[in-house]
């Protein structure tokens, strides 16, 4: 690292080279945090997590009982720190969701607003300070997933995936659903906006297809992603033009928006090139998929190469995105892991599952905190003493 620091000083390397190298090293050494954890408020499983994109300070979590909790992640440098919960929308609140909350998301520009969608067929837009819903969108069927674009300046659309095969676009400004994207033939399990293009939307459904939409066009569907890239020979005839050989469970764009990672119930991860819509044919091997609803996996940010953190039963499997190599398994949960989210600034992973725990995975680089050493100072100074000093007792 010192060579990189001096190279940055004299201009041989770009400043981003050092930050990328160190971020990659940290991402590849994630371990369960020994000092920090998150206060346990949920009584039942946690379905979804989101970290606010503005400061990276607040963690929003939604549980299977409809409870929504906000925790403050700001770390105090002391041993055994528990991130406290700032506020909770519990079972006693008047506006709480009736059934399980499947997706929560912070508003991308400030923490005054967040959205949550639930099995009680509603999508609620909450005012964080008042903890009351500013708006409620009601649907005819269970809402599986919703997503708001993080780079949008020209629209405030929330894409919603329900049991209905149509993707509904709800507008925050007008308070009603503006239009509907038709194309899928079964429930839509996962929707994601591209972080690169504010009008590009990807949706994955139970009919094994992933569709890319441009919401500006009348016939919005840009393309249906095909796992065989047009070659009919490889699979059976039913598998033609499908993205997976099972339901498409999870979608995640890489941070630059150039690639889309998809997870399916056929136990496969696929990497798609967003610009051409082709399957890059990276082979990740068999990745056990236990979830029959959406699986909220995540892709790291700031490293090269980036890795995907995929919940596999009670563990989280880490794969290098571009080569498909298996990096590690993060073992720590007692029950199925439902969601993971990556903290972009500190290269930490937050994961939660049916055991109601939110675990923090931090980079383990072999560095000890200074606080611990100060406490043992008296004992250590005698052992780590003067090099010339001998250890013979003075009494003899």
């Amino acid at each position: 690292m010192l060579s990189f620091l001096s190279a940055r000083e004299n201009g041989t390397h770009r400043p981003s080279a050092l930050s990328r190298a160190e971020a990659t090293r940290r991402i590849f050494s994630l371990e369960l945090s020994k000092d920090r954890d998150v206060q346990r408020i949920h009584d039942s499983g946690v379905n979804t997590l989101d970290i606010d994109p503005v400061e990276g300070r607040y963690l929003l979590s939604g549980g299977t009982e409809g409870v929504i909790v906000i925790c403050d992640l700001e770390c105090r440098p002391q041993e055994n720190y528990t991130c406290p919960s700032v506020c909770t929308i519990g079972r006693s609140s008047r506006h709480v969701h009736k059934y399980s909350v499947d997706t929560v998301q912070w508003y991308s520009h400030d923490t005054g607003l967040f959205t949550s969608s639930s099995m009680d067929k509603t999508l609620k837009v909450w005012d964080t300070n008042a903890l009351k819903p500013a708006d409620v969108f009601r649907f005819e069927t269970i809402v599986y997933d919703h997503n708001m674009s993080s780079v949008a300046t020209k629209h405030c659309l929330i894409a919603v995936g329900t049991i209905h095969s149509q993707v509904v676009l709800c507008d925050l400004k007008s308070g009603s659903s503006t239009h509907v994207l038709r194309g899928h033939k079964a429930s839509v399990l996962s929707v994601k906006w591209s972080p690169r293009d504010e009008f590009l939307l990807a949706s994955g459904s139970r009919d094994s297809k992933i569709m890319l939409w441009d919401v500006r066009r009348a016939k919005s569907c840009l393309s249906i992603l095909d796992q065989h890239n047009g070659e009919k020979g490889k699979g059976s005839t039913e598998a033609v033009n499908t993205a997976h050989n099972g339901h498409v469970n999870g979608l995640s764009f890489t941070s630059d928006g150039l690639y889309l990672v998809s997870f399916g119930t056929d136990d496969r991860l696929r990497l798609w090139d967003t610009m051409s819509g082709k399957n890059t044919l990276v082979n990740y091997g068999k990745v056990d998929n236990v979830s029959r609803k959406g699986s909220k996996f995540t892709v790291s940010y700031g490293g090269s190469p980036d890795v995907a953190f995929v919940p596999m039963g009670s563990n989280i499997a880490v794969f290098d995105i571009y080569t498909g190599e298996y990096v590690a398994t993060l073992i720590g949960h007692y029950n199925n892991v439902n969601c993971c989210t990556f903290h972009p600034l500190y290269q930490e992973l937050y994961s939660a599952g049916n055991d109601s725990n939110i675990l923090i995975w931090e980079p383990e680089l072999g560095q000890k905190t200074d606080v611990a050493e100060k406490k043992d100072n008296k004992q250590s100074s005698s052992t780590v003493g003067n090099a010339v000093q001998d250890t013979w007792s003075d009494e003899d």
């Binding site: 690292m1 060579s3 990189f4 990328r20 190298a21 160190e22 990659t24 090293r25 590849f28 050494s29 371990e31 070659e231 009919k232 020979g233 490889k234 699979g235 059976s236 005839t237 598998a239 050989n245 056929d266 044919l281 990276v282 082979n283 990740y284 091997g285 068999k286 190469p305 080569t323 498909g324 190599e325 990096v327 590690a328 383990e364 072999g366």
Partner: protein, 259 residues
């Protein structure tokens, strides 16, 4: 001390790659270009294919089958699956190997060297004009796993009669109305022995305490169903198909059954 041995990519470029200049090799008195021509060096997948081929002894089947290698066996030798896939595609384009779809699972493929395949087909049915025509046109020119009726009739000029003849000879298997998989004639006996051997091996591991066994103990066991194809062949198969997990321990390599 880190308990888990994870391979972190060399981000700070601590290890310098050794670059050997071409000039150094010339004092051996040979032509520089011939030694260092990359085309002559086989890639990892090709070496793996040759190794697996050496494990299988076709004499056991009285030469009724060519040497069949499964794609997932290569995954257990070369660890990066994407590299294996890419190199297999390259070899397919160069017509060195041919890939066939075997089994019910969607992505189970087997690989046969093109020369072996041609030899085997000629041995099965010598002096048959349709088959020779098939070998010269389709096998040589088309790297696909399956064929449709339109391709057969238009591109390769086969008549319906000839197609029926090929199906009865076992070179084509019906997939759908108007499309066929390419197949290996007489591969039935291979598949039967292979499936039996695989089941027997998995049953042995399942019977062990904790459903795991050291690889050297497994190799010492004498199983009748495994004898024909060889223990090494089957072990590569179950590791590659992810039915079993390979764990390095201080007593050697451990194979644990995946649930």
């Amino acid at each position: 001390m880190k308990r888990s041995k994870r391979i972190v990519p060399d981000v700070f470029k601590k290890k310098r790659k050794v670059v050997v200049s071409a000039g150094l090799q010339s004092d051996w008195g040979c032509d520089q270009d011939s030694i260092l021509s990359n085309l002559a060096l086989p890639n990892d997948t090709k070496v793996a294919l040759d190794y697996v081929k050496s494990l299988l002894h076709v004499e056991v089947f009285e030469f009724r089958i060519p040497t069949i290698i499964f794609k997932h066996q290569i995954y257990s030798i070369v660890h990066n699956k994407t590299t294996v896939d890419r190199q297999l595609e390259e070899l397919k384009e160069k017509k060195v190997i041919k890939m066939f779809k075997l089994g019910i699972a969607v992505d189970e493929f087997c690989i046969v060297f093109t020369d072996d395949y041609k030899q085997h087909v000629k041995r099965q049915e010598p002096d048959n004009k349709t088959i020779d025509k098939f070998l010269d046109t389709v096998v040589d020119r088309c790297p696909d796993v399956s064929l449709t009726k339109s391709t057969m009739i238009n591109e390769f000029c086969f008549t319906d009669e000839e197609i029926t003849h090929l199906v009865s000879a076992g070179l084509l298997t019906v997939r759908d109305v108007g499309s066929w998989w390419l197949a290996i004639p007489g591969a039935g006996i291979f598949m039967k022995t292979f499936v039996k051997g695989r089941q027997s091996l998995l049953r042995t591991i399942r019977k062990c305490k904790y459903q795991e066994i050291l690889q050297k103990n497994l190799e010492e066991k004498k199983l009748a169903a495994v004898k024909k194809l060889g223990m090494n062949f089957h072990i590569l198969d179950i590791i590659g198909a992810e039915l079993v997990k390979k764990i390095q321990t201080t007593s050697g390599c451990l194979l644990r059954l995946n649930e």
